[in-house]
């Protein structure tokens, strides 16, 4: 084809042009026809904006030029949201908020009108991709709002001591149950797997006094243990010593009786002989005794019956030890 512009004639390679346009169009169509769905996802396909089908992972075909649109939804991925803290490197934008917001997420009022700082994690998965995409705008944010509300409802029904120490498991269980109910009621299209409490603390300015309570508790145990130790140090010993003295006394008793019996037996035996010859036996015993006793004596003075007057001249002091 030849066209004229002004005084110049141009030859247009019409076939070539048409062919080129067609080729580019085909290429574009080809490129926008194929798509892949990752292993962890399902794809929701809309044709002219209307829901057509949900496809499983793999290489798939669709109508080109925006007639079919595909929204991949990571249904098999374990997702989580963190409240009051943030693990760095998260890819899910709903997983955490900025630092200022975290501060607000943490602080709560308990049912005894005290304050507590609670950090927790919600583990969830997308269970119904259609509901997740079409029921709510920004379902991740909706879930964040709900879990904050639920956690405060649960914490608000408990004393600060329950929140910090004894009630943790119960709180997790009740929050999980409540959140599941709310999510089902909202039709968010997610299933909640777990709620885990992380750091649960009294507010920072109060922390020291909570520690003081712990210390006092330890101190109480220590004081009691010391007193018990003191008790254990003396009482069993005293028991043993009493036992010892008792045994000694029992020994004494046995000995006393045995001796008495021995003495009695000896006496009786002697007495039996004595009755046979009383006078001789008596003299013998007397002399034997003197014989035994007299040699031991330091001084023996034999005085005549008639010489009594010498007595005052004798030195009758007790013996002085010889140097």
């Amino acid at each position: 084809m030849i066209i004229r512009l002004g005084r110049t004639y141009y030859t247009l390679p019409l076939r070539l042009l048409a062919g080129g346009v067609l080729a580019v169009g085909l290429l574009a169509a080809l490129v926008s026809t194929f798509y892949t769905i990752e292993a962890e996802s399902q794809g929701v396909v809309l044709r002219f904006g209307r829901y057509l089908k949900t496809v499983e992972p793999g290489l798939r075909l669709k109508l080109p030029f925006g007639m079919d649109r595909v929204y991949p939804v990571p249904v098999r991925r374990q997702l989580k949201q963190e409240f009051g803290f943030a693990t760095p490197g998260a890819t899910n934008p709903d997983q955490y908020t900025d630092t200022r917001e975290q501060e607000l997420e943490r602080s709560m009022v308990t049912g005894d009108l005290n304050a507590a700082s609670v950090e927790w994690v919600v583990q969830y998965r997308i269970a119904d991709p259609l509901a997740f995409l079409f029921a709510f705008r920004d379902p991740g944010h909706a879930l964040r709002d709900l879990s904050e509300s639920v956690m405060r409802t649960v914490i608000g029904d408990r004393t600060v001591d329950e929140v910090i120490t004894v009630g943790r498991q119960e709180i997790e269980a009740e929050a999980l149950e409540r959140l599941r109910r709310q999510v089902a009621q909202y039709g968010l299209g997610v299933s909640i797997d777990q709620i885990q409490l992380k750091n649960v603390n009294p507010p920072a300015p109060v922390q020291a006094s909570f520690n003081e309570v712990n210390q006092a508790q330890q101190e109480r145990e220590r004081t009691i243990n010391l007193a018990r130790g003191e008790y254990n140090k003396v009482v069993p010993r005293a028991r043993g010593e009493a036992e010892e003295r008792l045994r000694t006394a029992e020994g004494y008793a046995i000995r006393r009786i045995n001796e008495a019996q021995g003495d009695a037996a000896r006496f009786l035996a002697l007495f039996a002989q004595y009755t046979n010859a009383p006078a001789v036996t008596r003299q013998r015993l007397y002399l034997e005794t003197l014989e035994e006793v007299l040699p031991r004596l330091r001084g023996k003075i034999v005085v005549d019956e008639t010489a009594r007057q010498v007595l005052p001249l004798l030195q009758l002091q007790p013996a002085k030890p010889t140097p």
């Binding site: 049912g111 006094s209 006394a249 003075i301």
Partner: protein, 323 residues
């Protein structure tokens, strides 16, 4: 002229395509559409997703959200009935129920949000002012707190209790909802719910709360310390008592045992020595001799006269015998 024929054809085709494009439009699953003719809504709102037809150029497509939307209130400070200043952050769910009404009254979402801000904001303020703080904190009326056994005292419980409520958080939320829902309904907006996300003390109140918590904890700590001292004193007392008991009981038993033994020995002696007058005399004799042995020791000086039974022979050789 003939040379321009293909060009005209091309232009016509382009125009046709343009008209066709103007006649077709798509509605996404997430949208609903109001068709306006020169700004004036005509016909019913279209809510079914897919490909639709309209008059090109004359009809304009106004897309509105079909999904549930989020209202996120700004945190604002307000007093409760008991004049405590708290910061309340609430959220709500809403959707466009009557697109035509919505489109006429509000046009876009920004103005809808600001209307919701006004209405819900004031309803929340009203509700908070009508209730005491605890009513928006707690939710179940008859819950008994679990007690931290470590903190429970032996005599009385010092740890804090849950404050009683008459209504509780869900009822207050419902009150706000029932008051606000008709007010937003006139804009074609359906309010789905309103919930408190965060309720916190304002900073100056928080400081007072902290002070109270600290004093509460200190009181508990003091109790622990005094409990420890008390318990220790009890143990010390018990120790004294046990020691005295053990020692005195042992003493009593020992005296009993010794007494019994002495009595028994005495009896044995009496039986042996008392069997006849001769035996008694013999015993006296024997025992006197025994006593000599014991009394006359090596530091004794004995003055004997020749008159004595033993030495009589010194003077009187003719008299043998002692009698």
């Amino acid at each position: 002229m003939k040379t321009f024929a293909p060009l005209v054809l091309l232009l016509t085709a382009a125009l046709g395509l343009l008209l066709a494009c103007g006649a077709f439009y798509t509605i996404n699953e997430t949208e609903q559409v109001i068709i306006t003719q020169f700004g004036k809504p005509i016909g019913e709102p279209r809510t079914n997703a897919g490909l639709h037809l309209k008059l090109p150029f004359i009809h304009a497509v106004n897309r509105l959200e079909k999904r549930v939307l989020r209202w996120d209130g700004r945190p604002s400070e307000m007093p409760t009935k008991d004049k405590t200043y708290i910061v309340v952050d609430a959220f709500g769910r809403w959707r466009i129920r009557d697109p035509r009404q919505y489109f006429l009254r509000l046009r876009d979402e920004r103005s809808a949000q600001s209307r919701l801000d006004d209405i819900l904001g004031s309803e929340i303020r009203n509700a908070i002012a009508r209730h005491e703080l605890i009513e928006v904190i707690r939710s179940t009326r008859d819950r008994e707190p679990a007690l931290d056994t470590a903190l429970v005292g032996t005599n009385e419980t010092v740890t804090s209790r849950l404050y009683p409520i008459r209504k509780g958080r869900p009822l207050v939320e419902e009150e706000i909802f029932t008051n606000a829902a008709p007010k937003v309904a006139v804009f074609g907006v359906e309010l789905l719910d309103v919930q408190f996300k965060r309720v916190n003390y304002n900073p100056s109140v928080a400081q007072r709360i902290y002070d109270r918590m600290i004093s509460e904890r200190q009181q508990i700590a003091e109790r622990f310390r005094s409990e420890g001292a008390g318990e220790a004193a009890k143990i010390t007392g018990q120790r004294q008592k046990d020691l005295q008991t053990i020692e005195s009981e042992a003493y009593r038993r020992i005296q009993e045992i010794r007494g019994a033994a002495d009595a028994r020995a005495s009896e044995i002696y009496a039986v042996a020595y008392n069997r006849s007058p001769e035996a008694a005399a013999f015993y006296r004799f024997l025992r006197t001799l025994e006593a000599y042995k014991a009394v006359l020791t090596n530091d004794t000086t004995l003055i004997l006269t020749t008159d004595s039974a033993f030495f009589r022979l010194l003077k009187h050789a003719d008299t043998p015998g002692l009698e």
